[in-house]
């Protein structure tokens, strides 16, 4: 990897706006959590991932990582839950890694990248929970979480696909 990376003022401004948007979406989501309908730890719509995925396609891997990390840190500061931060950090790291890899591979559409990211997020969180709780009991949640991730991942993919098409004429880089 060559370290040369041009960071223009425009890019920094865009990253800031997208981070704020992602943070806003994750706070908004906390007002109507999906876990009220499906009461399992870790169940969520993942609205903020719309922004991260959009950034991955329009700005690239590193800005997307920066936006995700900013949202993750500030989001858990707002929620004030240190253990939730650990879970979302590990889930998010797995998710970002998979999404960046799938995007690089160049065979998958926005949908595939989104699905892979959503599933990886759940697997990362379950792995973190299994380690923290020192119990394999949480693995019992994985089948349900993975099934839900198919739905939420496809939905995120659809929204980002529409957004990217709408923004195709903009030169965001």
């Amino acid at each position: 990897m060559n370290g040369a990376m041009k960071i223009s003022a425009k890019n920094i401004a865009l990253c800031g706006v997208l981070s704020a948007l992602a943070l806003g979406l994750s706070v908004l989501e906390s007002f109507f959590p999906l876990s009220l309908l499906i009461p399992l730890p870790g169940v969520k719509l993942g609205l903020a991932n719309i922004v991260t995925l959009f950034a991955l396609y329009t700005l690239g891997a590193r800005p997307a990582l920066a936006i995700w990390l900013t949202r993750c840190v500030l989001g858990s500061l707002f929620a004030g839950n240190a253990s939730a931060f650990l879970f979302s950090l590990l889930g998010g790291l797995a998710s970002m890694g998979v999404m960046i890899a799938l995007r690089r591979w160049d065979r998958f559409s926005v949908f595939g990248v989104s699905l892979g990211g959503a599933a990886a997020h759940n697997i990362g969180q379950i792995a973190a929970a299994a380690v923290v709780l020192n119990s394999t009991a949480v693995i019992g949640y994985l089948p349900v979480l993975l099934f839900i991730s198919l739905v939420t991942g496809a939905l995120t993919g659809l929204l980002v696909s529409l957004l990217l098409r709408a923004a195709a004429h903009l030169s965001l880089r």
């Binding site: 009220l36 009461p39 559409s109 697997i123 394999t136 693995i139 019992g140």
Partner: protein, 134 residues
């Protein structure tokens, strides 16, 4: 970086279906691995662990009543009666453990992530044997 030049694929591809299939397969595998081990039968043992340490272990039939556990600064009230066990009160933010409702079968569990408390119903048979013969 090569990502800059690769065109965006807006529509689902066959490869996406492969990812979806892989996720379904993984889910089924986890379900089979986890739930076939915990077949019904025998009397259940309640194990409550706090931050990975077993705090209480008792037969479900002898667990009736309210039990209070604290973990990571949160307090949970676990209630049991008629072979069912549930979290009746928790002062955590998410309330996932309360919403999980009652569990009664071996293999089921209630997890409270903020309090790091796991309530698990296990088989009373010793060890982790799948089949006991004789």
């Amino acid at each position: 970086m090569p990502t800059r030049s690769s065109p965006i694929k807006y529509r689902p591809t066959v490869w996406d279906a492969l990812i979806a299939a892989a996720i379904i397969a993984l889910g089924l595998l986890a379900a089979v691995l986890f739930y076939t081990k915990n077949a019904r039968g025998g009397s259940a043992i309640v194990t409550v662990s706090v931050a990975g340490e077993v705090a209480e272990r008792a037969a479900l039939s002898q667990f009736d009543g309210d039990h209070v556990y604290t973990g990571n600064g949160y307090t949970l009230t676990v209630s049991a009666h008629d072979g069912e066990i549930f979290v009746s009160h928790s002062d955590c933010g998410g309330q996932d453990c309360v919403h999980t409702g009652a569990i009664s079968r071996i293999g089921q569990s209630i997890v409270c992530l903020p309090a790091q408390i796991v309530i698990r119903l296990e088989s009373a048979s010793p060890g982790d044997a799948d089949v006991i013969v004789g």
